[in-house]
Subunit: 262 residues, 2 copies
Amino acid sequence: MERVVESDSGSGESDVVLSLDSIRESLIRQEDTIVFSFIERAKFPLNSPAFEDSRCLHSGNSSSLTEFFVREIEIIQAKVGRYENPEENPFFLDNIPPSVFPTRKYPPALHPKALSVNINQRIWDIYFKELLPLFVKPGDDGNYVSTAASDLACLQALSRRIHYGKFVAEVKFRDAPQDYEPAIRAKDTEALMKLLTFEKVEEMVKKRVQKKAETFGQDVKCISGDDKSYKVDPLIVSRIYGEWLIPLTKLVEVEYLLRRLD
Amino acid sequence: MERVVESDSGSGESDVVLSLDSIRESLIRQEDTIVFSFIERAKFPLNSPAFEDSRCLHSGNSSSLTEFFVREIEIIQAKVGRYENPEENPFFLDNIPPSVFPTRKYPPALHPKALSVNINQRIWDIYFKELLPLFVKPGDDGNYVSTAASDLACLQALSRRIHYGKFVAEVKFRDAPQDYEPAIRAKDTEALMKLLTFEKVEEMVKKRVQKKAETFGQDVKCISGDDKSYKVDPLIVSRIYGEWLIPLTKLVEVEYLLRRLD
């Protein structure tokens, strides 16, 4: 489900067929991952010293615990080949270390310029400054290590979803290049945004993630009770999708399309 | 919820009060984490080359991709202080590197010998040989990096749950030392196992995790349909608890109690 549908064109070359169905299926499945990661993060309060303070003792740089953790984990993940997958975009790696394992070959599905579309710095800032305070309790319980691990899971799930816009844009472009080419050549981001916007679909996504947060964030008991409390507010999840995730995904789509004819 | 309840005894020393309620609450919350991690892992087929083959190119040792990944990640996690938390037990770290950040002080809740109870090697073997084939599809889709990351999440969730037996044993011992001491002194593991077994509670746990797998693993749609398919078979999750997780937790409880009077 996380993969792009591949087919052999019969010409001997392995051609990549992106279908809107397979992309939609992946995006729907990624909603579960995002909701799970929010629920897991909500076990802990904000714990802002983990990502605000520079409390590093020996590492020589002045990053927060969370930034140190994410940087180091990304290096390990790069070593096993994570960033050869066009669905994954690093937060900090300017120089991605090579994989120490034989890596999988991903048949090219995107325009080569896709690599230069990476809005993770923005996702990082939005996540810590705007999203996190919406769905976790304020406070500090000292559980910085677990918090950093949970934040990493959220950040990577959000980043994957948002950068999946590259695949969405590619398949939409391939379906109707004549619609997109004039706007791309004119660098008309507003026209592109209009072409990429389907309000009914967006409303459906927002409703579905609300229902997922209700379903996955309830207290499951053997004997059903009437108390409906959720580990993460379903309306907040819907709002995060509507105000941030969907617009940021479309931003990635536009950024990708602007490079599509290079 | 992940923390041990602490209270100030008023004597100036911070005393740790373990309550069976807080431990039960944590174990129940950990069920969600375990079910989430299984559902996320089930996105991928078995992908056995990730954890069976030794395909490492440059690292000089002959570990599988998954083992390499877990070892390296544990080093980073140790550096931010993960293993100073008595709830966390490493899989591979014989020499845990010191934290590079000021670490949280965990007031001692367990007997110092708790550190020597670590059955992660066994958990690792059982997970890959017995559990994983039960809840993922057979096959190989090449997604080894995502698979290794999902396996790590499952392994750490299982390890935390099973080693939480130390806290369970400690609170049970404190509640009725007179019941446990004779069996501990006699090293009578059978008698200890009997004292620690409550079949009704175990049945309730198995039913609850089944319901959690049904709830969290369903396809949530905006329009309700009749199709009930689950991402992970709820009966399998119940069986994994009954045949492995609960017995292994009790094994940890016994191992801990055997050292409790040292």
